[in-house]
């Protein structure tokens, strides 16, 4: 069942189109991530859903109720949509307990009791309830912000880069805690992020955004293995893009003859492989041979550029570090799985 339906949303700031006709449907209970480079319009989209800004055109329907349609607009405070923003946005003049109770309409005792329960839910010590926000760490602030939004029992939760201000270690832990809490509560979630790994790990549905449009919407696996174009492929992770002649589900490429995921296409095209499909072994073996043109050691992996034999094409990838390899060595390159074909 669709909980949130966005149709042809447009928003201009002066001459710049922040959103250029965006449509998306979000299923109830699902997790959707909108991912894109900074300035692609993803935060604008979230602000339109929250009701902080008004679109120039398009409609938003939430749980069967029209929130925005043309000039009609339901104000933010009547939408019942929760939001956790990048820096948590806690009210600096209120304690943690007052922050959590801020949006609740209940007696003081009820508020305090629910604030304590919510603290347990987001994994924070109840003793922090009397603190002011500036006495909390960044991760704790984010959890309080989540508790505050949860207090109103929203059906939809918007997360605006809520983990990007945190350190790497804390980020993964906080993300897991937030995901668990939202899943347990059965709340539909819309996450906006510029971190593709975070988007792929978090969501059931990923929407890749570029210059105010969705380049592709699909499951994490689908957008990662079968991106619509080389730009999307490169944004979601390392990609090796090669020219090939394709016929009957097979591609003749500088890495040999490879199976492709499109049986019908015939002609020349670009194909894509992910680095994890490629294995590099020293000396002879099955596969295409190449020469290590450059190698730089980065700890567990080494960044290598391999000149492919018989062509002027070279590929660049990270391989597990090995003692033996050095520039000038001959290697054999093996490929597993199908290559992805970009239709032109």
């Amino acid at each position: 069942m669709t909980l949130l339906q966005l149709t042809s949303l447009r928003k201009h700031y002066g001459a710049v189109a922040a959103l250029d006709g965006v449509g998306l449907s979000v299923a109830a209970g699902s997790r959707t991530a909108i991912v894109g480079p900074s300035g692609c319009g993803k935060t604008t989209l979230l602000r339109l859903v929250a009701g902080f800004d008004q679109p120039d055109a398009g409609s938003i329907v939430f749980g069967g109720r029209v929130l925005v349609d043309g000039a009609f607009q339901v104000p933010a405070h009547k939408r019942g949509i929760g939001i956790v923003s990048q820096d948590g946005c806690l009210f600096p003049h209120l304690t943690v307990a007052q922050n959590i109770g801020f949006g609740m309409e209940a007696e003081r005792a009820v508020k305090e009791a629910s604030a304590a329960e919510l603290m347990d839910m987001v994994g924070l010590d109840r003793a922090m309830l009397s603190r002011k926000p500036d006495q909390l760490s960044g991760g704790q602030q984010q959890r309080v912000a989540l508790a505050r939004a949860l207090a109103r029992k929203p059906r939809l939760m918007l997360l605006d880069e809520p983990f990007s201000a945190l350190d790497t270690g804390l980020r993964a832990a906080t993300r897991k805690a937030v995901t668990d809490v939202l899943t347990a509560a059965g709340i539909t979630t819309l996450l906006v992020t510029h971190d593709q790994a975070e988007a792929l790990a978090f969501a059931d549905q990923v929407a890749v955004m570029r210059a105010g449009r969705f380049a592709q919407v699909g499951s994490p696996r689908e957008v990662y293995s079968r991106p619509v174009d080389p730009a999307t492929a490169a944004f979601l992770g390392e990609a090796i893009v090669l020219p090939a002649a394709v016929a009957g589900g097979r591609a003749e490429s500088p890495l040999g003859v490879l199976p492709v995921d499109d049986a019908a296409y015939r002609g020349s095209a670009e194909i894509m492989l992910r680095p994890e499909q490629i294995s590099v072994t020293g000396g002879g073996g099955n596969g295409v041979s190449g020469t290590i043109a450059e190698i730089s050691f980065c700890g567990p992996t080494s960044d290598v550029r391999i000149a492919l034999g018989g062509t002027d094409i070279s590929i660049r990838l990270d391989i597990p570090s090995r003692e033996a390899l050095a520039a000038g060595d001959q290697v054999t390159i093996g490929v597993s799985g199908k290559a992805h074909l970009f239709r032109q």
């Binding site: 009701g51 104000p75 933010a76 939001i83 820096d87 948590g88």
Partner: protein, 527 residues
């Protein structure tokens, strides 16, 4: 030798631990700062001395009597009525000019600050020009509101610009309607600005003489001056000064209590989004009424009265010899006072930026406390001290300049500190590593680069001095006649037309300085 010393400086600056650089400069600066603080605290010391010298019994009799009770009622009512009205006016105007699409918001914002260019006693003069019967509490409150609300408007509008609009969005997403957002999120964050501005107004209400004397409304300050003029420097005046100082302390204490300890800093990284502008729609023209009415009362009335007297007086009131002399004396005394005040602020400004210690914070507190003492108390103290201890200094330029330093030092301190903080300390260190002595290094780098801030400090202190009447009257050397003094003497003789050119000159010279104050507050707010 030279090479050796510069090498060691290089070695020192490359060490991350901060050693005691420039110890000589530091201790000298501290000594001067302490000396200035002691001079600034002279009035407070005087009040204590006067109380002890009077003896408890006499003091008790002089303080607990009907007259003092009446003055206390007047003062309390004045403060209790004026400050809330100013606060409501300032918040409404600041919201309209900063957060709504009010037509001509920039103009209205400037017009809300412009009344500061009109000295308080000129406001009073303008009002009784229109309503000669005006007197008492109602008159006092009405004129005080138009004369002083900019002191609240300035910090509140700056605070509006600094608010993080994301917090308001967040509150809306938590189900709060716009007015509830304003009450529960915006207003609490304006508290610091409101408290600071209200304190400033309260202190002005206690210290102002001319405004209330002109409409025959008695406050402690007017009573002290009356006493001073009739019995010169009696015990009764001293005891009124004691009560006045205690009133100031009550205000300071109230403000400290209400303000709370915590600053509401923006949490988290990043730059705040630009604030959202509320569309007034069909309310637009109704909302325009507020700034229009305020400007009519705070600027229109002075303009109207001044214009009327200037036209009625014709060419006859422009006695150029007298006016020229007063103008010249005013400019000289403003310049001397402004420069002296800024120079006195340099040591503490430098210390509080470069060597922030508990001692420097304490010293800074002393300056602020000293400057919150009413001019009449400062003057009374300096009169007593010079007459009793250093008679040759009585009614000299040195004494009056000292009074100005005590009263206006924080104005210079604020601009100096802001500009010193922008000069990286590494420049001083680089100059030292190039062989400059500590004092020389300071002069060649920080002092040069902080010059614009110092100039602003001189200007702001001068603005205060130009419109100062109370202390100037009591301390000015014989034969001195500044614009304010001449204006006051002429209105005392009911020569309202003759006083008009002096009022006009004060306003004209205050305008650019008020503009400076306005643009500085914008700059501090980051825009």
């Amino acid at each position: 030798m030279l090479l050796g010393s510069s090498m060691s400086s290089i070695a020192e600056t490359s060490v991350p631990v901060v050693p005691r650089r420039l110890p000589a400069a530091s201790s000298w600066t501290l000594t001067i700062a302490v000396a200035v603080a002691l001079a600034a605290l002279l009035p407070l010391g005087f009040v204590l001395w006067a109380t002890v010298a009077t003896g408890w019994e006499t003091a008790f009799q002089l303080i607990f009597r009907q007259r003092v009770g009446d003055l206390m009622v007047n003062t309390v009512l004045l403060v209790v009525f004026t400050i809330p009205v100013c606060a409501m006016l300032a918040v409404s105007l600041a919201w309209l000019t900063e957060r709504s699409d009010l037509p001509g918001a920039r103009l209205w914002s400037w017009l809300a600050v412009a009344p500061l260019a009109v000295p308080a006693f000129v406001h009073s003069y303008a009002w009784i020009g229109l309503w000669p019967g005006l007197h008492g509490l109602s008159g006092g409150v009405a004129i005080s509101v138009v004369a002083y609300f900019p002191f609240l408007y300035l910090p509140v509008s700056a605070a509006f610009r600094l608010l993080d609009p994301a917090l308001e969005d967040q509150a809306a997403s938590l189900g709060l309607a716009p007015f509830a957002v304003f009450r529960r999120v915006v207003l609490p964050q304006l508290r610091l600005a409101l408290c600071g501005g209200a304190l400033l107004i309260g202190l002005h209400l206690l210290a102002e003489y001319g405004l209330y004397a002109m409409i025959r409304f008695d406050t402690f300050t007017t009573a002290i001056l009356d006493q001073f003029q009739s019995t010169y420097n009696g015990v009764a005046a001293h005891m009124l000064a004691l009560v006045l100082v205690l009133c100031c302390f009550v205000l300071l204490g109230l403000e400290a209590g209400l303000r709370g300890r915590r600053r509401y800093a923006r949490l988290g990284p990043g730059v705040a989004r630009r604030p959202k502008i509320t569309k007034l729609g069909r309310w637009k023209y109704f909302c325009l009424l507020l700034p229009l009415v305020v400007a009519a009362f705070s600027l229109g009335i002075p303009a109207l009265t001044l214009g009327r007297w200037l036209i009625a007086g014709g060419a006859g009131i422009w006695r150029m010899d007298e006016i020229g002399l007063a103008l010249w004396q005013t400019l000289v005394i403003c310049l001397i006072g402004g420069i002296a005040t800024t120079a006195a602020a340099v040591p503490i400004a430098w210390l509080s930026v470069r060597r922030p210690t508990r001692a420097s914070r304490f010293l800074e507190g002393c300056y602020y406390l000293a400057s919150s003492m009413p001019g009449v108390v400062v003057a009374l103290a300096l009169v007593t001290v010079t007459v009793r201890v250093m008679l040759p200094l009585y009614q000299t330029v040195a004494t009056i300049v000292l009074a100005y330093v005590v009263m206006f030092l924080p104005r210079a301190l604020v601009s100096l500190r802001a500009s010193i903080a922008q000069v990286p300390v590494e420049l001083e260190q680089a100059a030292a590593s190039l062989g400059r002595s500590p004092g020389n290094a300071l002069w060649a780098t920080t002092v040069r680069l902080a010059a614009p801030g110092a100039a602003a400090g001189v200007a702001l202190a001068s603005l205060g001095i130009m419109n100062e009447l109370t202390a100037t009257q009591m301390l000015a050397p014989n034969g001195t006649r500044t614009l304010a003094m001449a204006f006051w003497a002429l209105t005392g003789e009911i020569d309202y037309a003759g006083a008009a050119p002096y009022a006009l000159l004060m306003v004209v010279f205050s305008m650019p300085l008020t503009w400076l104050l306005y643009s500085q507050s914008k700059k501090i707010a980051g825009r």
